[in-house]
Subunit: 347 residues, 4 copies
C-alpha cells in the first residue's frame, strides 16, 4: 500500500485507452495534429476564454518554460519558500530563463503571506540596477502543504504583482485537486483573479505523462512554440501526449479523478485525527495529508508494509501521505486501523 | 500515403502493448523503477559493455543534454553543416550547455570531411582565450542525407577529436537504421571506434516517444541524472517511457523494425532510379530517399495524394521520402508507379 | 563631506601616477604584459604561496567570474543573506555560471552562522537530482556589516564546505581593510584556513578600477583566462589595470591605505558612540560604520551637508557611514561635532 | 617597431591627462556622475540625435551587451564570417545573450554579401520553431579586413534586416577610422542608414580602456543599465572611464587620432605596393594593412626587429600591419625600406 506520491501510481484506464486509440494512421508531427488542436479548444471551453495551450511531458518543463516566457534573465521569480520551482526542480527555472533568480517568500500553510510579498517588493526599487527585477509571481495551487488558495487570496497577491508590472504564474501540478476542493469554476481561480499563465497538471491525476502550459494572456504565448522546441519539449509524435489530455478533459473526468483522490485524503485525515497523538500539520484540502505521528507509529506503519515519505523539510515526526485517483478505500482504512492499533499500544 | 517523416507514423503494436502492460501497481517515480534498470542492463548487453543509460522523451533533449555533459559553456561542438543539432533544434544545445557554440563543418553526403575537421582545429589553438575551445565532435548516424558512416570513418574522425581531448557524441536518432544497414555489431560502430556518448533513438522507429542517452564512457554520466532533472526530462512516471525502450530492445526487435523501413526505402529508390529524369542525391543507406525529380512529377505526385517534403536545404527539385517501420510495400509501389507514369507523360 | 561609499572617492596619487608611468612604449595586449606578470609574482609573495592572479575591472566581475570557475550550472552558491553576490550584483553570478543558484544563509553581524550552513547542507542530499547541488561557499571579508571573520571562523566554515566537496570563495572587496584590522598575515586568513579563490579588491581602497581574482588552488585557474575573455574582462591594454595593482601592492601600501580608512571609521564610531541616542549596529572592524540615530539627527546631518546612505536593508533609523583611504580627520570630527550638537538639541 | 595591433600602444596624452584631472573630489559612483552625463550629451551632438550612451571597459563587453539587448536567447545574430563577435570573443555574445546563435555570412573584403544575407533568411521561415530566429544583424565598421562599408552598403543590408524585424548592430571598434576614411557625418553611416545600436570604440584609438554602447533606438536602451550591471560592467568609479571618452570626443579629437592612424596605414601600403612581390589582400581604408609577402621578406622583417602578426585566417604568406594614433612616419618608412631591400635581394 503505497502512499508515497501521486506519481507512483499508473494511469487511469480511459486515458491509457486514448493513447491506444490514437495509434491510427499518420498525423502531422511536432504538435500540429488534431489532438493538440482539440485540447486547446477544450481548455478554452473549460476556462471560458480563448486560451493558448501547449502540451509538454513533465511538470518541471511546464513550470520552467512558462516562467521563461514571463521574465527577462535579470528578473526575479517570487514564490513560496516551499515551492517546487524553488526546492525541487534542480534549478530548471534558472536554466530555461537564462539565470533568473527564484526568490522565496514565507507564509503559513504553504501560502505566500501578503506581507512577505510586500516587504520583498518594498526592498527592491524598480529599475535599480544593483538588484534583480521582480518580474513574475508564481503561486502553487494546490500548495505544497496540501492546502488551497481561495480566489480572494490569489486576487490579492496578483493585484500587488500586477501593480509592479509583474506577471502571475500558477503552478497547477495539482490544479484539479484544488478546483475539486474549492468547488469553483476554473476561471474563478485563474484568469478572473489575475493568473496569466497556468501549468496545468495531468500526470499526477491519471495521465501517463502530460501537462499543458495554458496562457490566459495569449500575447505572452507568441514565441512559446519556439521556447518549447528549444527546451526539448516539442514531442515529435505529440498526438500521444495530447490524446492523454483530451481524455483527461473529457466531460468533467479530470475533476472526478481529483474528487476521488481528495476524498481518500479526507478519509485518511479523519481517521488519523481520531488518534490523540496525531496532529495534522495543515488543513487537508487536496490529496495530501501532512501529519505528525509518534516515531513508534511511523516505524510500525512501515513495518506493516505501508509506504510513504517522512517529510524532512518539516518538523521531526512529520510524514506525508498522498492519495491518488485510484486509491482504494480499503487501503486507507487499513492504514488508519493499523495506526490506531499502534497508537493504542504506545499509549 | 504519407512519406513526410518517420515521426508522422504511430507506434509499433508491441511497443504500445508494453505501455499498456506497464500500467500495473505502483512504481518508484523519476526513473528509479525496474523498467529503467532493465533497459540499462539490456543496452549493456547489446553494446557488449556496461553502459549508463538515461531515458528522455525527445531526440532534441537527448542530444542537448548529452552534449551539455561533454562541453564547458565556452566550448565548441563540431558537427556536419546539415546536422540536426545545428539546423533543426532551435538552439537547444546552446540552451542546455549555457551557450556553447555549434560549429558546422562541410562534407559530402552528410558526412563530416576529415579535412574540414582538421582545418577547423588547425585554426584554433588550444587554450587561445579569444576562441571557443573545441570540446565535442557530434556525428550523426545515419546522417541527415540518409547515408551511413563506416566504422573506419567514425574511427578516423574520433581519433582526431580525441587527439585534441574532445569528446565524441553520436546523434543516433536513426541509429537502428544505420546498424541494420551496416550489418555490424552496435559496439563496432560506437565505443569501439571512439564514440563516448550516444543519443539512441527509438521514437522514429516505432516508439511513442522515448530516447535513451547512452554513456560508454561512464565517468561522463556522473552528474547526468541531475542534468536530466534540471532539463525537465526526469519524467515522474518514467516506467511508461522505459517500458517502450524495453519492448523496443527485446531480442532484435529494434533492428527488425529498422530493416523493414530500410527495405522500403531501397524499394522506393530502386523504383525511382529507373526513371531517366530521376537522380538520387545520395546513396540510400537507411530509411530516407533524397531524389531530384522534374517539377511536373513532384506536382503530379502531390496531386495524386502522396505526401512528402520538398527539401529546401537542397537543390531545387529535391524531395525527401521517408519510410518507416510500418510502411506498406503497396504504398511504395503505388508511388513508384505514379511517378513512372508522370515521368513518361512528361518525356 | 561625502560618507556615501568608498567608491565615490578618487584614486590614490601614487596609483594614478603608476597609470601615467605605464604609458610608455608598446606592450603585449590582453594581459600578456610584464605588469600583469609582476602582479602575479607579488601576490605570490604576499600570500606566501605561488598563486594565479587575473586582473579584472570590477568587483562584480571578479566575484561572478571566480564563482563561475567553481560551480556547475546546477550548483548552489551558499553565502550570507546580506552578501553582495546575493543582493547587489543583479544576478551576475547567475549569468556567468549559467544559472547556478545563490542560496542565502542567516547569521549575526554579517557572518554566516555555522548552524545555518549545517542545516542547509543537511537538507540537501549529495546527488539528489531534485535539488541544486551545494558547490561553493562564498565568504565576504570584511563583511557587509563592517565586521571581520576571525581565522578560526573562516576555518570552521571552510572545513564544513570542503567536507561536502564544495569550493570556498572569499569576496574581498574590502580584503585590505580586514587584513589591516585583524593584523594577520594574508595567508592566515585565506588559503591556510581553506579559501580556494579570493576576489582581491583594490578599487574601493585607492585604485581607479582594478581587482584581481587570486587562485590559491591553482588547478581551478586552468581555464580562467578563457572565462575572463568570454566574460568581457580581458582588457586589451591590460597594463593600465595591472599597473594600478602593482602600485597598490608595492611594499605594504595596500595595508597602509586600509589602515587609514579603518582608523577614520573607528574615530567616527568612537565619536558617535558618546551620543546617548546613538547605537552601533555591529562592531566597527573595517571602514564602515552602521549606526542607528534619531531621525532628527539624520535629517540635521543631511541639512548640514553630510552625504551618506540610509540603510534600507536594516532597521529604521540606520545609516551607513563609509570612510576611505583619503578621508580627512577634520571631516570625521565635523560630522561627530554636528551630530553631537543635534543630539543635544533633541535631548 | 610594433605593428601587431592598435592595442599594444598606450594612450593619447590628452586622454590620459583627462583621467588625471578627473581625480578631484567625490563623484557619485556606478555611472551617475557628470562625466558620464556629458559623454551622452556629446554623443547626441556628434550623432545629431538624442542617444543613450553607456560606457564599458572592453570592446567584447560592448558588443556582447549590446547584442544581448537586441535578441531573445533563441535568436540568431547574423554577421560576417570573419567578424570579431564570431571568431575572436570566445563566445561572449552567446554568454550574455543566454545562448543566441552567431551565424556567419560570407562576403568579400570583410563585408557581408547581400546575397549571403538573403539566402540565409530565405532558408529560415519566421516562426519556424525548428530554427533559431534571425533577430540581429551585426555589421563591423571598419571591417576585419580593414575596409569600410559605404552608407549605401549599410543601408541595403539594414533594410533587409529591418524587413524581417531584425535589429541592426554596428561593431565600431574602429568606427573612428571608418568615419575618417569615408569623410561622412557619423549620422550618415549609422542611424540614417538603419543602425540601431553602435559599439563605439575608443580604446584602439587612444583611450586606456573605454568603449561606449550608443543606442540610436533609445527604446532598446530601457533595461541596459541593468544588463550592464549584471554583465560586470557597471564600473564603480565610472568617472575614470567616462573622462576618457569625454577627452576623446572633445572637438574632433577622435577623428584626428584616426586620421593619423589611417594616414600611416596608407603610407605603409603605398610603400609596400611598389614591391613586385607584394600583394594587398584588400583595399586599405582604415588603419590595417593586409598584405601577402614572400616568406623570406616576412622572416627578414622579423629578424630586423619589426613586430607584426602573420594572419593565419588568411592565405599563407599574409601578414597584418596595424598602425595607431601615435605611429611614427619614420617607423613606417623604416619598415618599407627594409622590406624593399629584402625583396630586391630575393628577386
Amino acid at each position: 500500500m503505497d502512499f508515497r506520491s501521486d506519481n507512483v501510481v499508473g494511469a487511469a484506464p480511459d486515458i491509457l485507452q486514448a493513447v491506444v486509440d490514437a495509434n491510427q494512421g499518420t498525423a502531422t508531427s511536432y504538435g500540429n495534429d488534431p489532438y493538440s488542436e482539440r485540447v486547446e479548444a477544450r481548455l478554452s471551453e473549460i476556462f471560458e476564454k480563448p486560451v493558448r495551450a501547449f502540451a509538454v511531458t513533465t511538470g518541471t518543463a511546464a513550470n520552467a518554460l512558462a516562467l521563461s516566457a514571463l521574465v527577462p534573465n535579470y528578473g526575479a521569480i517570487l514564490c513560496h519558500d516551499e515551492a517546487h520551482i524553488h526546492l525541487d526542480e534542480c534549478g530548471a527555472p534558472e536554466l530555461f530563463s537564462g539565470g533568473a533568480k527564484v526568490v522565496p517568500l514565507a507564509g503559513a500553510s504553504g501560502k505566500i503571506a501578503i506581507d512577505a510579498l510586500r516587504a520583498m517588493l518594498d526592498q527592491t526599487l524598480t529599475g535599480d540596477p544593483h538588484r534583480v527585477q521582480p518580474a513574475a509571481l508564481s503561486i502553487t495551487q494546490a500548495t505544497e502543504a496540501g492546502t488551497c488558495y481561495r480566489p480572494t487570496e490569489v486576487a490579492a497577491l496578483a493585484e500587488i504583482a500586477h501593480g509592479r508590472k509583474m506577471k502571475v504564474h500558477m503552478d497547477g501540478a495539482r490544479f484539479a485537486n484544488a478546483v475539486a476542493h474549492l468547488g469553483v469554476a476554473p476561471a474563478e481561480i485563474t484568469w478572473k483573479v489575475g493568473v496569466d499563465v497556468l501549468s496545468f497538471g495531468a500526470t499526477k491525476n491519471g495521465a501517463l505523462g502530460a501537462e499543458a502550459v495554458v496562457f490566459f494572456d495569449t500575447a505572452l504565448a507568441e514565441d512559446f512554440v519556439i521556447r518549447r522546441k528549444r527546451g526539448g519539449q516539442m514531442v515529435s509524435k505529440m498526438r500521444f501526449v495530447s490524446a492523454q489530455l483530451e481524455a483527461y478533459l473529457k466531460g468533467d473526468r479530470w475533476l472526478a479523478l481529483a474528487r476521488h483522490a481528495n476524498g481518500m485524503a479526507t478519509r485518511l485525515a479523519q481517521g488519523l485525527q481520531r488518534l490523540p497523538q496525531a496532529a495534522l500539520v495543515s488543513p487537508v484540502e487536496g490529496n495530501e495529508v501532512f501529519v505528525r505521528l509518534p516515531q513508534g507509529v511511523i516505524a510500525g506503519l512501515k513495518a506493516a508494509g505501508f509506504n510513504f515519505h517522512e517529510w524532512t523539510d518539516g518538523a521531526p515526526g512529520t510524514i506525508r501521505l498522498v492519495t491518488a485517483f485510484n486509491t482504494e478505500p480499503a487501503d486507507v482504512d487499513a492504514l488508519v486501523a493499523t495506526a490506531t492499533k499502534l497508537a493504542a499500544a504506545a499509549a
